[in-house]
Amino acid sequence: MQDVSFWTVIIAVLGGAIRVGTPFIFVSLGECLTEKSGRINLGLEGNLVMGAMVGYAVSYLSGSPWLGVLAAAGSGCVLGILHALLCQHKRVNDIAVGIALMLFASGLAFFYGKPFIQPSAPRLPSLEFGEWSSSPVVRAALDINALFFVGAALAPLLSWFLLRTRWGNAVRVVGESGDAALAMGIPINRVRLLSTMAGGAFAGVGGCYLSLYYPGSWSEGLSSGQGLMAVALVIFARWNPMYCLYASLLFGAAAALGPALQSVGINWGYYLLNAAPYILTLVIMIVTSDRRGTLSGMPGEFVK
């Protein structure tokens, strides 16, 4: 009996890693791409909330959750463009703009999202890999959303893009050294605009996953800072898209720990364990910090 519940917990945590980690994958890959171009967009939390609201609203109004995903990506695009355009000006600080946009986008999403709190929108379909099992915990754990596979494919794709394509390398050059980019004739602002825009779109998709799949409805407390944690995650992942994927899953697993234990009847420390991802963020930042110098993998433009 003890043995069975142990494996149940493990499977539930793994399933939870995927279920909870998916939005982290999108946001962290978006942030990774943006930061590779030499800008930090802290506004992705806002993109996430906005994406959740827009995705849910469009899915409700159109009846198609996939249309909702597209709309969420679009809303992220718009916010990303806004961030990039504001940051183009001299002496505008990207972090301050990010925080302002985060508050702006969240507020806007709450305002326009009021009518969508009650109604129920069509949700994103998932693939059921757990049908062989009779255990409801296992079945729930292996219920994997299609967006996870999109995110999991996006990570190697982004790696390949950054290392192997002309455009991806332009992003890296711009992020590593503005001077070098200038000398090579790469239009710095345009590259950053496109990177921030695409990064914003990723975060928007991450947001609609929250409202259209898990937890699966639109409410104002939906994100609880996941967009900000994704920023920490990118640092932890050393600006490497594949590591972003793994780190997202690790965060997801940490978040799933509490519910997984509860599902087998262990209620001890439930709320404390819910704080696991936040504690993990702090621990990771402390462990990976280096008081002697800069982190390896950090885009050169941040070091100046």
Binding site: L163, R166, G185
Partner: protein
């Protein structure tokens, strides 16, 4: 045989920034397949002129002719397409990328998807014809300054640059490296593969490697001539325009020479936690300049960082006047222990603060600059004005942000700050890096005066000539160890060269 056709010509170029007339109807003729030296002091307008040619600035007036045809170079890309390339003093290589990535990514016709293996193979084949050879997969940040310089030049050659502009190409190189680089460049021009415009301060290089020379002074065109028709004296008169240079003061021998700075078994690690200084012992006595010669990247930077308090040593002790020294404000003041690090704008100044604020940076909270915990702006300004005059700092005033000053003038401000006070121990790193010879003469004279007043001076320099001229005795550093000790009088250049190269 040299063709005498003009490949690039600047006609009556004028450029004004605000109230400053940076270039006043300058003309320059660059003959094909020659090395043309552009000579001038800091602020003479060399960089501005070159930036106009490279499309970073648009001249207010005048024309640029390329192959006798007028061209409007509105952007650096346009310059690149014409076949103009430039190696900057501050390298534009990307430290976190490999040599291959740096070279391939600057190609104009980069394919949408890059096959790195194939690119590197092509590069390797092309490299065979290049004057310098590298391991293409090395990261640029692991290269020495000299290697970076060579990569920059190679990159330009691989990009089919016809006219190469070099901005003080040898200021970071050892004498041997400088001769190697310039020699090979000169050879390429003789083989009719390249035309070179070289900004420089060094007469020796002009006389040895250039075919023509143009001198600018304060934005004015002073003269242009084949190198056969000039000599260093003529050039120096043209550059300075009759202003006199600081005479080096006599070296005085002090009777009593007690040890002021004692470094004992110092071990220092770098950012990657690898030892870069190992068990280093060093003593500097009152009234002597001890030099440390060596190629950059052999621990000099970290040694200065430890002495200035920017880095903690792994083990070992630093003693000032026989007492253990930790670089805290109180002990710095007590021991009058000051540092003049390299890249002073980055390491010893706050760029956005004014010249005056930077001058009192060490003691703005002391009388007479502060009273009852409040700053006394008047006193700070007066002090700044004094030093600006005394050290001939070229600035629009004490309120100008220091980052707006030219490199030589930033160096003068920092030197003024450190030397105008009573100094007992002074650590100086590459004090004359990238400065023109008037500033160099000034700074060296100041250092010698400080020595004669009884200061113990530790001078780290990549410029061997500077070490030979300035120090009473000196060491050669290699791999974080002092491998050789001698005096300028007894120095044997061959031996020193071998120790510097790590043999």
């Amino acid at each position: 045989m040299k063709q005498e056709s003009v490949i690039l010509e600047a006609v009556n170029i004028g450029k004004t920034f605000g109230d400053v007339r940076a270039l006043d109807t300058i003309s320059l003729k660059l003959r094909a397949f020659t090395v043309h030296a552009l000579l001038g002091e800091n602020g003479a307008g060399k960089s501005t002129l070159v930036k106009c040619l490279m499309g970073y600035y648009r001249p207010d007036s005048g024309q640029i002719l390329f192959n006798q045809k007028e061209e409007i170079i509105e952007s650096p890309q346009r310059a690149t397409r014409l076949g103009l390339g430039m190696v900057y003093q501050h390298f534009t290589l990307i430290p976190n990328m490999t040599i291959a990535e740096n070279i391939v990514l600057s190609r104009a016709d980069l394919p949408a998807v890059i096959d790195w293996d194939a690119e590197i193979k092509i590069l390797q084949e092309k490299m065979a014809q290049m004057p310098f050879q590298f391991e293409l997969r090395r990261l640029v940040r692991d290269l020495s300054v000299g290697e970076k310089q060579k990569v920059e030049i190679t990159k330009q050659l691989l990009l089919d640059t016809k006219v190469l502009i070099l901005d003080e190409p040898t200021s970071v190189l050892t004498p041997t490296e400088a001769d190697e680089v310039l020699g090979k460049i000169h050879q390429l021009t003789q083989q009719q593969q390249l035309t070179v415009l070289m900004i420089t301060h060094k007469f020796r290089e002009v006389m040895k490697f250039a075919d023509h020379v143009t001198v600018l002074r304060k934005g004015q065109f002073i003269g242009s001539a084949p190198v056969e028709d000039v000599n260093p004296q003529i050039l120096s008169d043209m550059m300075v325009g009759g202003e006199s240079l600081s005479k080096p003061p006599q070296r005085e021998t002090l009777s009593d020479s007690k040890i002021k700075l004692n470094i004992d078994k110092l071990t220092v690690h770098n950012d990657q936690d690898l030892p870069v200084i190992q068990q280093l012992d060093l003593k500097v006595a009152q009234g002597e300049i001890v030099g440390i010669a060596g190629v950059s990247g052999n621990g000099q930077k970290q040694l200065v960082e430890v002495l200035s308090g920017q880095r903690s040593p792994q083990s070992g002790e630093i003693q000032a006047h026989g007492q253990n020294f930790l670089p805290h404000q109180n002990s710095i003041r007590q021991h009058k222990f000051f540092c003049l690090p390299e890249e002073p704008l980055k390491n010893a100044c706050v760029g956005s603060l004014s010249v005056a604020d930077n001058i009192v940076l060490h003691k703005f909270n002391e009388a007479p600059f502060a009273k009852w915990g409040l700053l006394r702006r008047g006193a700070i300004r007066r002090r700044a004005m004094e030093l600006i005059q005394q050290y001939r700092v070229r600035t629009s005033g004490p309120d100008q942000p220091i980052a707006a000053l030219s490199g030589g003038n930033v160096q003068r401000v920092v030197l003024a700050r450190e030397l105008a006070q009573d100094v007992s121990i002074l650590v100086v790193s590459n004090p004359c890096f990238g400065l023109d010879f008037k500033a160099v003469a000034d700074i060296r004279a100041q250092l010698l005066q400080a020595r004669n007043r009884g200061a113990a001076i530790l001078l780290l320099s990549e410029d061997l000539d500077e070490i030979l001229e300035m120090s009473d005795r000196f060491y050669v550093i290699s791999g974080g160890k002092l491998v050789h000790h001698t005096t300028p009088a007894q120095a044997n250049m061959n031996t020193i060269g071998q120790y510097m190269a790590g043999h």
